[in-house]
């Protein structure tokens, strides 16, 4: 195999993995505290949208990222209040919020920017590309890590940090105990409800970050429903990774790889079939690893 092509595929895998990984970490921490959050899709989409809107008005990419994070957290706040606090049915809240965000972004896109369908403009600022000083001149490695954004690196750092928090600190053990046995946790004086609510909001922030990199990383645009099922792929990824941050990292890379392969085959196979690759890959991965992660 052509090494240049291989490096390009790895590069593309890393880029496609980032949004899925961030959302999958969000899904994993929700599962860790026993909340089944299926509004990830809406959280990602709203993050992408608000990031682009903030970018349009401020022309500052960092404010845009922050706005995306907050937007994801806002959608999650609804989940947190309605589903966790008031015990509404998870599937109903999740599907309603996903559809609400999908409709709302289209309307806001039209009212704020006057366009329908999608928005892009040369005035929007992309996330800066990082080319590491020495590594960029190493032949294979340089191509592999070419033009990544800081969020691409941050995603893995976040995964490690979540791992350290959940598995190496006392406070993290408390959080885990909520998911394992909420009654026992309560009896120890752990404020389970509060932990569950904040965890859901944190998952929204992670999805929002994923959304921001989706609309400002590889491309700079927003299109209707641009999250395209990534929230659900992330759920699959978290479940395959048994909700463990480090395993989730590996499983998310697999989903990123499916996407990258789809893109790489685009010239030889009709795009309709290559576009289906990540979804078929998800189903196959669930079938292979589902047994081990039969928690939900």
């Amino acid at each position: 195999m052509n090494t240049n092509l291989l490096a390009a595929i790895i590069n593309s895998t890393i880029r496609s993995t980032t949004p899925v990984l961030l959302a999958a970490l969000g899904s994993a921490i929700c599962s860790q505290v026993g909340v089944f959050n299926i509004a990830l899709e809406g959280q990602i989409l709203f993050g992408s949208f608000v990031a682009i809107i903030a970018n349009h008005y401020t022309a500052n990419v960092y404010i845009a990222v922050l706005a995306g994070v907050l937007a994801g957290a806002l959608v999650a706040a609804f989940v947190s209040v309605l589903q966790v606090k008031y015990k509404a049915a998870d599937m109903v809240i999740g599907t309603s919020l996903n559809l609400l965000v999908s409709g709302l972004t289209s309307i806001l896109l039209f009212t704020l920017l006057g366009v329908k369908g999608s928005y892009s403009s040369p005035d929007l600022v992309m996330l800066p590309k990082i080319n590491l000083p020495i590594i960029k001149d190493v032949p294979f490695l340089g191509r592999m890590l070419e033009n990544l954004t800081f969020i691409d690196y941050a995603a893995y750092l976040i995964a490690v940090l979540i791992f350290i928090y959940l598995y190496k600190t006392i406070s993290g053990f408390h959080v885990q105990s909520v998911g394992q046995n909420i009654k026992a946790a309560n009896s120890l004086g752990i404020k389970s409800l509060r932990i569950q609510m904040w965890t859901v909001i944190a998952s929204g922030a992670l999805c929002g970050l994923g959304g921001a990199v989706l609309s400002m990383g590889q491309v700079i645009l927003f299109t209707e429903n641009m999250s395209a099922g990534r929230g659900f792929i992330a759920m699959a990824s978290a479940s395959v990774g048994m909700n463990h941050p480090l395993f989730v990292m590996i499983s998310s890379l697999f989903f990123g790889f499916c996407q990258a392969i789809g893109v790489a085959m685009q010239n030889t196979i009709p795009s309709q079939l290559t576009l289906a690759t990540p979804y078929i890959g998800t189903v196959i991965a669930l079938a292979i690893f589902g047994r081990r992660s039969a928690s939900k």
Partner: protein, 365 residues
């Protein structure tokens, strides 16, 4: 006298929540319409006039409601048994596409040809849903995620099929679609010069059929029991895998029927993205949620939601408010329906029991 009062009380109790939620949803709509700088009363006026109050638009509303009603029932069949099938869209696409291709290439014409096509379509829809049952049975793969993933797969594969092997050679370069199905297998039009066709009758029959199966047949009972309390059903000798296979297959077959009604009654061919862009399956899901999965309720809520969409199209034409306004109103309604559902129906039945409800004395303390 008191019986009448009791009945009225019961009806009020059942309808109260959906009606409150609908009011809240419409109010949310007011906020968003104000945000777009339009007059909400005028917008709602146009919306309801051009969906329910003019005969021509009413037939359009009912035509559009047909697949939505059937998708709602397909959703309810699976959800009632506790199998969260959100892949109605994929089952609809695969089944209806197969039926269309069969109808085009099948030499048998007329009613028999139509019936054969429908059997083919429903079988394919049922098989497509069964993929997930098998994955769940053999590998414990999540039904929610698998059904959703297969939506995308079905949609892209049908898109490929209508772009390459089965493309209409007469069509222009831009439109991806199959050839038309022969005239002899079209559904009869019930009202001349409108789109009002046999489909709506089929939709009503599906509603009645679902009522019959769930109230009068063993399979319906087993399916319902599995949803209400899987352990009780298991104890009562219900074979869960068998119930899941049957329930999911039925759900998929009904979903395929929804797509076929749209093609054989209205569009007469498969156009790329025809079901996804109209989001019939998701609207059907919302209708099922508003109606608390009750078939009669689904019939009415589906017609209501269809009216919102037809009215939404009218608004888009006259005042340039995007059609997605109706999605926002619809999902606001379901959002608020569910909040109360959490308290009442679901808490009582335990289909979606809140996570921390575990048997008493679970803690070892």
């Amino acid at each position: 006298m008191s019986k009448v009062k009791a009945n009225l009380h019961y009806i009020w109790k059942v309808l109260r929540q959906p009606l409150i939620a609908t009011a809240i949803g419409l109010m949310a709509g007011v906020v968003f319409i104000l945000f777009t700088g339009k007059d909400p009363i005028q917008v709602y006026g146009i919306m309801f006039e051009k969906s329910f109050f003019k005969p021509y638009y009413l037939t359009q509303t009912l035509t559009r409601a047909t697949p939505i009603i059937i998708c709602g029932i397909a959703t309810a069949i699976a959800w009632r048994a506790g199998y969260i099938n959100i892949g109605v869209e994929g089952q609809m696409i695969s089944g209806a596409f197969a039926a269309t291709i069969f109808a085009i290439h099948n030499p048998i014409q007329g009613l028999l040809g139509l019936i054969l096509s429908m059997i083919v379509g429903m079988t394919v829809g049922a098989l497509y849903a069964s993929i997930v049952s098998v994955l769940n049975m053999k590998f414990q793969a999540s039904i929610v995620i698998c059904t959703l993933m297969l939506n995308y797969v079905a949609s892209y594969i049908a898109s490929y099929m209508s772009a390459y092997p089965f493309r209409d050679p007469a069509g222009d370069g831009l439109s991806l679609m199959t050839r038309q199905i022969p005239d002899s297998v079209h559904f009869p039009i019930l009202w001349k010069d409108t789109t009002f066709n046999l489909g709506i009758v089929i939709a009503v029959l599906v509603v009645v059929g679902f009522l019959f199966v769930s109230n009068r047949m063993i399979f319906g009972y087993e399916s319902k029991m599995t949803g209400l309390n899987p352990n009780f059903a298991k104890y009562g000798g219900v074979l869960q895998n068998k119930v899941m296979l049957k329930t999911m297959a039925l759900s998929g077959a009904v979903a395929a029927l929804a797509g076929m009604c749209e093609i054989f009654g209205y569009k007469y061919r498969y156009l790329d993205g025809m079901f996804t862009s109209a989001s019939y399956a998701w609207t059907g899901l919302m209708a099922a949620l508003i109606a608390n999965l009750h078939p009669i309720g689904i019939l009415f809520s589906a017609i209501f939601l269809s009216g919102l969409q037809v009215g939404g199209q009218a608004i888009q034409r006259t005042s340039s408010i995007p059609i997605q306004m109706s999605t926002v109103i619809q999902s606001s309604i379901t959002l608020f329906v569910s909040v109360k559902l959490g308290f009442q129906f679901f808490k009582k039945t335990g289909i979606f029991k809140p996570k921390e409800v575990k048997p008493e004395g679970g803690g070892e303390e």
